[in-house]
Each structure stands twice: as C-alpha cells, then as structure tokens.
Symmetry: C2
Subunit: 382 residues, 2 copies
C-alpha cells in the first residue's frame, strides 16, 4: 500500500522489497529485471537495487540471457537454492529419519536408523544423534541454515515435548535444546501429524487444496489440519487431538486388527512387529480372507467416527490418508468413503499420501524453510 | 509494497489508498491528515487527495480542529457512520427479527415478530416481510446500503437454503432472491450459528480472541467457528455441523430436559412452549430440584461430548455459549467445565454470550457491513 515510505522505514522497506523479489523467483523460471519489476510492482531502479544486493548475499544467481532475444540481451536472475542447506528430522516410535535438502527442499542426502519401540529416552536420543551425524557427513556440502524436527507428542513453542501418549518416557524431553547442539542455525520442533499435513500441501497430494484434514492411520491414529492454506496449530498448539476423545473411536480402532492377528498368530507376539506386523491383516484382506476383511472394516468403521467429526466440523476440500497403514489404502479407501457417506452431510474427496515414510521428515524440512523465509524479511541472514 | 504503480493500476491504487484511509478512521478518534499519512504510510499529497474524494462521497466528515493546538489548527476527519444504513435480519423457527443500524452497527430501529414453530414456508416468509417493512418504516432515515440475513439451515453462495433439519419445509427456499425484493442494495445470506459466532467476535464476549468455538445451546444445538480471526465456512459452507454425528451426543442432549418436563407436566404439552418452556427445567435446577439438576447434568454431559470434539480438534482460546439456554448459563457453565476437563487435554476459557436474543441478527448486520467494506475496495458505491 505504501507509496512513499517515511524516512525511518527505508531499511524495512528494502527487506519487504527483497522478500517480494525472492517470492517471485521461488518458481522454476529465471526472470529478467523487467519481468521482476512488473510482477513485484517495484520500480525498475528498486528492483535492480534489490537484485544486486541479493546476488551479493548469495540468494540469487545471474543466468545467461534467453537465446533469441531481440536487441541487447537482458540479464536474468534465478533463486539460488544451493546457497544453503536445510535439515529435516523425524524422530518417532520406531525410527529416526534425517533429510538434508537444498533451499528448494530437494533431498541431497538422507539417513535412517531403526529404533526399538521400547527404547528409553537416552537410547532414542543417541539414535537420533547417530542419524543426524550420518546425514550431515553425507557430503552434500554447504552450511545448514535451519533445522525442523518432527516428533510424536505435543510440542510447546520452545521445542519441548509437553505430552507423548505413545512414548510416555518422551514427555518432557527438550528436543529443541538437544538438536541445537547437533546442527548450526535455528531449530524448530513440531508434532509429526501436523508436519505430515504440511508436507502434503507443500509437496504431496494436497497441493491444490486450502482446507485439508490429514489422517495419520497407523499404530497411532492422529490428525493434522490445514485451514485456509495454513497449518492450524490452535491456541496452545494442541489442535488435531480429537483421538483423545473415546467417542471418536480412534483409541479402540486398531484393536480390530490386533484381534485378527491374535487369532491367526498362535506362536509369536505381533506387538513388536510394528506396522509390518499389521500389514499381514491388510494382505489377507486383499486376497479375500473374510476374517481379515471384517477386521479392516471394523478398523475403518471406528476410524470413520472421528474422521466424520473432523469433516462435519471443518468441511474440508480434501481428506488425505497417511501413516503406515496408508500403504494398504487400496483396501481402506472404499470402506472409509462408505462410512463418511453414512455420517457426513458432504463427503469430501479422499486421497492417499504418495509418500513412502518420508512425509513427516519432509514436513520438518518445510518447517525449516519457513524459518529461513521468515529471516529474509527480518534480514538476519548474511 | 508498491512504490510506483504501473499506469493502468492507478485507479486500483486509489481504491486501495481509500480503503487504507477508511480502515484507520473506523476507530472512534478523528484524525488529522498528518496522522492519517503516518498511519497509512501514504504521502501527504495522496492522503489529502483521498480524503477530499471520500468527503465528496459522504464517507468522511470534516470535524472541528482539536482545541489547544498550536499554530494553524489542522483539519481532522472522521468516518461518517451516518452516511448509510445496514439491515440485519434473523429468520428462525420462532421469530423474525430485523435491525436497522448505521455503518458502525449502532442499532437505530428494530422490529420483532413471533412465528409459530409449525408455520409453513409462505406464512414464515410473510412474517419476514412484515417484520422488515416495520423496521424500515421506523423512521431511521437514510438508504439501506446492504442487507445481511441469518437463517436456520445450511446456505449456499447465492443465498438459497440447501438444507434445514429443524424446519424441513424451509429447505430450498431462495431467501436471497426473496429479501432482494424487500430492500435496496446487495443481500447476503448465511447460517445463523455462523453469524452468531461472528457477532461475538465483533461486538460480544469474544472480541479479544482469534480462535473461538461458539456453541448454540437451545432447542437446536449448533456450532460456529472463528479460526485465525475469521469466520470459518469450509469448502462448501457446511462447516460446524458436528451435531449431525450421533456420536457427538447433540441429537439426544435435549431429551434429558424434555423427559423432566414430561414427568412434571401432566396437563399441558411443552412442545409449543419453545425456549421458555425449557426455562422451567433450569429454574427448578437453580433452586435445587434434584430431578431437574440431573436433567441439566444429563443435557450438559451430552452437549460436552461434541463440544470436546470441537475443542480437541481446534484448541480454541475460548468457548462461547449462546442460544436460548445461555440465559440459564449459571447452572450450565460449571458442569460443562467439569465435562470438558474430563475429555479435553486443555480446557479453554468458557464465556456466556451477553446478547439477549439479538446476537444472530447482529451477526447479520456484520455480514452486511462486510459487503459494504468490500465495495469500498472495488469502488462500486457512489
């Protein structure tokens, strides 16, 4: 809106202008100064000024003029995604996963370490340390500009785990402080369901949607909400926790699957098999085993009560199914759609996450990128 | 962000500038050109230009210079709330209520007509017509610039009632088209729970909060959601309908109250008594009648299941209780808090609506005001 800034606001305006130029260049196409000036509505002189400054900081790169241009070929600029690195970490019940990416979120290096479900806090943190060290040693080069961490449990603004139901010994761990010792730059920590939802709107199947309910269907059942294009956190960052309400059906939902496993598995316990153990129910259901089909339907019926509550509350454009069981979505989607049709006034589109199990970590990368992009406007980054 | 607009964007920029000036003047204080220029970050010349234009259009009024100012007294401007009128209509199961207000939403005139619950569509629309005619004849002067209509049921973007559970004959009525014949200017129609929520954040007990769950507790139970400071509508405007899910408990909740009424009322039927009939349960509970207390607690217990689902999903800052039963909130709030404590991870603050029964109509006024404010930026209003 500002036509002429007050004197004291000049440097702030410079940052806003820089931010506007960077926003236009986050697409794949390099742009000329004329194109940038038109898109940002900045004057040609201001645009040139900002571009020169950003090239000096390493954010922008000059590329060769477009061939076939008439007259004096115009300089073009593109965002230099290689200027820095982002680190995204997923620390959960069964694994640690770390991704090193460029500033566009392209994965350059990754490492993964399995963790026993019954590991204590110290053992889990030690596995996290090894996982991060391995990812950073992967030779992708470049400095880590920011780190995002996804964890099971509810997280406060400082990066501390306030409450973890699935890993009780995890409650109280100061994950932010721990990870700040592992990598340079700012560290942000967030709940894994929330970041999985974020990943779907950034790089996944929900890219086109502004209102999304993400369902984590796996050993745990959880939800992440995208409202009006933004991750909805809530007043104290405790959103998406409808699963805590018994009437939502999520607490009992996996029991249908474990009961089938109990009746078919006489000798070994399934409890340490994790998602792979449950996979057997879905495999049996897929080939028409009636008991397995009934178990999956019972699971979906309970899942659908809480899912319907979310849909009726928010009226989203899209429901995305992610989490370990989403690999078996082919046997889940139709029963789920039928149950939603039964309870909801309008059943939204249902899509299955296309990520293997890197969705949560990718959401953590997006969180790190948010941090970097917010530093652009405050001018903290050299 | 724009320093210098492209030639063709000049008139658009003028509208944006006018909008910025008006925004600053929506507060109670008149402002000088210097103050306006500072707050809008527009140049002094642009500010003067815009102010002159808006005075000509009737939006702004010049007021006397502040007394005691040194040197040549500076002209001051204030928003002219009297330039036009807004009409807010609430058409529900038992009444029609119409408010005529100034552009600040100050009520200048109102009318109210009781409607039998079993009235047909034609009878209900005729009552609406009489109610609006009476409000407009009230002699408040000035032209209606925009109208907001609140109705029971779900509404589409054109002002048609898509679905009404409580008034089945109301489904399909084209309320937008009907009201456009009653008043000049644009007409917008919206669901009554949504507008009641809007009224609470605009003029009610939720003014300070950005994330609010509004509960309509009355003959019907419903919800309206404010998320990140805005009314959440959802993809097809079907949000807030968690009450449609049996597991949420809202469908059976009022039965606790009707059962008590049935056992204590031998001779007359309570069914046509509306909210006032139910009032007797709350009155009896207030003086310690054990049966009535149990009935209220049963009602609150069922209400709290759906309310907990909303709180766990959204983690709002505030829950507001409105609707007919909110007059009896003194016997409801503590049991509700206990139930929320039981199910929720974090119980938000609970407040009771301070409106008598004009909250919904006031939300309709706010909808009309949104319409007027959106025309400012598109320059439709003379």
């Amino acid at each position: 809106m500002s036509e002429q800034p007050a004197g004291g606001d000049l440097s702030r305006l410079r940052q806003l202008n820089a931010s506007a130029v960077l926003r236009e260049l986050r697409g794949d196409q390099p742009l000329t100064l004329t194109e940038l000036s038109k898109r940002t509505r900045l004057s040609r002189a201001s645009t040139e000024d900002v571009a020169r400054d950003l090239v000096g900081r390493g954010w922008l790169t000059e590329v060769a003029p477009a061939s076939g241009s008439v007259g004096r070929p115009a300089r073009r600029y593109r965002f230099n995604a290689g200027a820095g690195r982002l680190l995204g970490i997923d620390i959960g019940g069964h694994k640690a996963l770390a991704l090193v990416t460029d500033l566009d979120g392209e994965v350059l290096n990754q490492s993964r370490i399995e963790i026993p479900a019954d590991a204590g806090r110290r053992e889990r943190l030690a596995a996290l340390d090894r996982c991060v060290a391995k990812a950073l040693a992967g030779g992708s080069g470049g400095e880590i500009w920011a780190t995002g961490v996804a964890t099971t449990g509810l997280v406060d603004g400082t990066g501390k785990v306030m409450l973890s139901d699935s890993l009780p010994e995890w409650t109280g761990v100061d994950l932010g402080a721990h990870v700040r010792r592992l990598a340079p730059g700012p560290v942000r920590v967030e709940n894994d369901c929330k970041l999985a939802a974020l990943a779907e709107t950034w790089r996944g199947v929900a890219r086109y949607a502004k209102d999304v309910v993400f369902l984590l269907a796996g050993l745990r059942t959880g939800a992440g909400l995208i409202i009006d294009g933004k991750l909805h956190r809530g007043f104290a960052n405790w959103s998406g926790e409808i699963g805590a309400l018994p009437a939502a059906g999520w607490q009992q939902a996996p029991e249908h699957l474990t009961q089938w496993l109990d009746t078919t598995t006489q000798t070994t316990s399934h409890s340490s098999d994790g998602v792979d153990g449950f996979e057997r129910v879905f495999v049996a259901a897929r080939v028409g085993d009636r008991g397995a089909l009934a178990a999956v339907e019972g699971y979906v019926r309970d899942l659908a009560v809480g899912a319907s509550a979310l849909v009726l509350t928010l009226d989203p454009q899209l429901v995305v199914i992610g989490g370990g069981f989403s690999r078996s979505a082919d046997v889940m989607v139709e029963p789920l759609r039928r149950e939603l049709d039964r309870w909801c006034l309008r059943t939204p589109e249902i899509r299955v996450s296309a990520f293997a199990d890197e969705g949560v970590a990718l959401g953590a990368v997006r969180l790190a990128l948010d941090e970097v992009e917010s530093t652009i406007t405050t001018g903290l980054r050299p």
